[in-house]
Symmetry: C2
Subunit: 481 residues, 2 copies
């Protein structure tokens, strides 16, 4: 693709406009305008805003933005785009990290952020149905008086549709699972504009292919998710959080491995290295000791929490962890986890005008310590600030690289470090991404990770989107039929 | 299909041999014989044994049986069959309930029962890899000294490959999930004989389409599962089982619903109606009161188990349940659950020469009570013995109909009852099968349950098995391209 830097980008980041992009076909633009009125936009600001996530990836603006308010409207938009073989890129809150929303082949950005209806909450079934644009924060605020909550919590104000599309997880996954385990059913618009619901609401089913799990994590390349039915959980009777400092990373990670292996049902077990603590202290006005640190959370009855906490404390002590610093007060706890969730922004704040290249890998828990320590020399050698954080209970950790995205030398170092990290994780029978997804940033690793499985994925993509109009160029690097 | 009753069937059940079946092409038979020696068989006894599960469905024998001993051999067999466009039906232990292994279009039965190697147990990662023919009993016996166990437990001596292929579950699913949640990775032979591994062993991944979940539950129609990597769990420090009798079904089910809704983390919560208890008492030499009964199991630390049991006891009391009858001794517990697992055979034993038509549906938990009580009149009106059992914590229940499979009038009544049950469950946003799968017995309900989703499934089937050689005629009633 012939790319030029676009001088009009809005936010200091590089931008690519393809020479091929000359706007939508007139008939399509007119039909979308008719359908959506002022919810159809071709303004540069709108297009640029919709052509990037929160990562270092350059903006690739779509040719137009369509704001849908219902499943039927999404279906109409896709049908029109299909007629003109025009790409459609679904967009939630724009928080993706691997270029998921970049309009690599132009076309229309379909913004679902206005679909914010909470369709049904069913306390008796511990589930609810929401439109794709509902954020996890909106949902949990809504649920506040029901005694229920939705635990999956990526580190941003993202939409539940986007979370389903990227198979997101977060800090609670070690106890409650990821979107893979927590989505019961989806409403999806297919590439021809038809609407399907992937399943009913039964907790289990053996009735045919698992379409729900097929669309979860498909990043808008097989269909556009418009409604999501998810599991809810009772707010635990007792919640306690504890912070524990270590002298070195190896001890902290060894403690995690031991805790997981002995099956203590922790709700959260999070790692931050000294630099991540430094960044968090500055960004969130906290004063943790700047050393490798574990954050724990225990959920359950008062007795269960006490028992889990005591077992954990004993194990941590064996590995040289400090005394637990408790946060049992809801406000303290909220502050602690908000700080943890804001790590991406805290890292960015460490360096003016930087963008954060956030990469995440996930390995079997027995390989976690080795994977992290083999990565350490690369971190130390890098010419920019890097912080390490991890949902370590799952074997998942992230590096946040505060790079200058306009400096090709830095991009090259970051790229090299990322490639080495991913190869290391895959060699340990892990994955190139635990929760951020592939977008196009990690498409180059798909063959290495999946081998012949990539051909299966290509066959599925061709079967469900033969014209390759749904988020083309994502997941599978070149999936034109 | 022109069908004739075959007078030579081996086990008293009806048998169908298609007039079309005139044996394999000579070249294919010769090549398979060369490859497998005496593990290639065309004896009638062998073929008949491989043409049926444990259900009422008539035997449909394949034209030959191939016993494979490795993934590579499976690949060779599939490649040869693909060359001759000959159907391949995978076979594990022959315990399926919806005609999954019936050779509806003839061809080869590929028996994986000899692939019984436990490839690796990784206590540090709480996972293991086994060949498809390993049974859950074999695995758990092997794990006995490790402190680990595999919880998914359908009510038969079935293979883990078969369990993955049908998305099986069992009594522990309410706590530990089904095969959907517990399979980490699969090795699969595709319709062209190529071999893929669906993923690494990381606990979570956002790297592309979820091939693992696509093949789990695909019943051998998309590929043949040859190795399975599954999650293991630490044997709980404390296990306690309790039995609780109720005067009526509604109270028992209402108690279950209340217990699930308040989130007590039970390991098992099983329902048996009075007739199921009667059958079990006779078959297993027990003496439970013959009235609707719940079986509970609690897993955890001593304190957690005591707390869960006390909460459960309080709730049960509210709904008129009897005093708990405890089985804390491992032998008593084993006896209790063995009796529960043998219900299929216990029902069959209630009527000489009967076959059990075992059907299962699953509904959202709030609908369970209504679904079960609306089904009751049909049960009462039936002219044969029917017992109801349920993994009720998941909203899943089974009817076991002891029918005379040679009596068209009984088959018609059973069919009518089954159709009404399935329609009722689907109308409540449930599913036509919680864990038995579709086979061909429930293929007719797929459109009703999935609507447009069936077209998506057909597209996937065509993409991965364009010649329709993998278990043709299953899941999708007529999936020829």
């Amino acid at each position: 693709m012939e790319a030029l830097t676009d001088p009009e980008h809005q936010d200091g980041s590089p931008s690519i406009l393809s020479a091929k992009r000359r706007g939508l076909p007139d008939a399509l633009a007119a039909a979308l305008q008719d359908l959506l009125g002022n919810r159809f936009s071709t303004s540069l600001a709108d297009r640029e805003h919709h052509g990037r996530g929160e990562s270092y990836h350059p903006t690739e603006a779509p040719e137009a933005v369509c704001r849908a308010l219902s499943t039927e409207e999404v279906a109409d938009i896709v049908r029109l785009c299909a007629l003109h073989r025009t790409p459609v890129v679904a967009f939630g809150a724009g928080t993706s990290l691997e270029g998921h929303v970049a309009a690599r082949r132009g076309g229309v950005c379909l913004d679902l952020g206005g679909m914010t209806r909470i369709v049904a909450v069913r306390p008796g079934d511990l589930d609810c149905t929401v439109e794709a644009g509902v954020t996890r924060q909106q949902l949990n605020a809504y649920l506040r008086d029901t005694g229920l909550f939705f635990p999956v919590d990526p580190g941003s104000e993202c939409t539940i549709g986007g979370m389903a599309a990227t198979r997101a997880s977060g800090t609670n996954a070690v106890r409650y699972g990821t979107m893979r385990e927590n989505v019961l059913s989806l409403t999806v618009v297919l590439s021809d504009g038809s609407i399907v619901r992937t399943s009913g609401r039964a907790r289990k089913s053996a009735a045919g292919y698992d379409l729900t799990r097929l669309f979860v994590g498909s990043e808008g390349t097989l269909g556009i998710i418009t409604e999501v039915t998810i599991r809810l959980y009772g707010v635990p009777e007792t919640i306690a959080s504890a912070v524990c400092a270590f002298d070195d990373m190896d001890s902290a990670v060894a403690a995690v491995t031991a805790i997981i292996q002995c099956g203590i049902p922790l709700a959260r077990i999070e790692f931050m290295d000294a630099r991540a603590i430094l960044a968090t202290n500055r960004h969130s006005g906290l004063s943790y000791r700047e050393t490798p640190t574990l954050f724990f959370e225990f959920h359950g009855s008062a007795a269960a929490v006490a028992e889990q906490a005591e077992l954990t404390r004993e194990m941590v002590e064996e590995f040289g962890g400090s005394e637990f610093q408790w946060a049992s007060d809801p406000d303290d706890r909220a502050r602690l986890w908000r700080a943890r969730h804001n790590i991406h922004y805290a890292i960015a704040a460490m360096r003016p005008n930087s963008r954060v290249w956030s990469t995440d890998v996930c390995v079997p828990i027995s390989a976690l310590s080795r994977c992290m320590s083999e990565t350490w020399p690369d971190i130390e050698a890098a010419p920019f600030f890097i912080a390490t954080v991890g949902h370590v209970g799952d074997g998942n950790f992230h590096l946040g690289l505060a790079i200058d995205p306009t400096d090709p030398a830095e991009l090259e170092v970051a790229e090299h470090l990322n490639v080495r990290l991913v190869r290391r994780a895959i060699a340990m029978d892990g994955t190139c991404t635990g929760e951020h997804g592939i977008g196009y940033g990690k498409a180059k690793f798909m063959e290495l990770e999946h081998g012949g499985g990539v051909s299966v994925m290509r066959a599925i993509k061709r079967a469900l989107d033969p014209e390759d109009i749904l988020n083309p160029g994502k997941i599978l690097p070149d999936n034109r039929p």
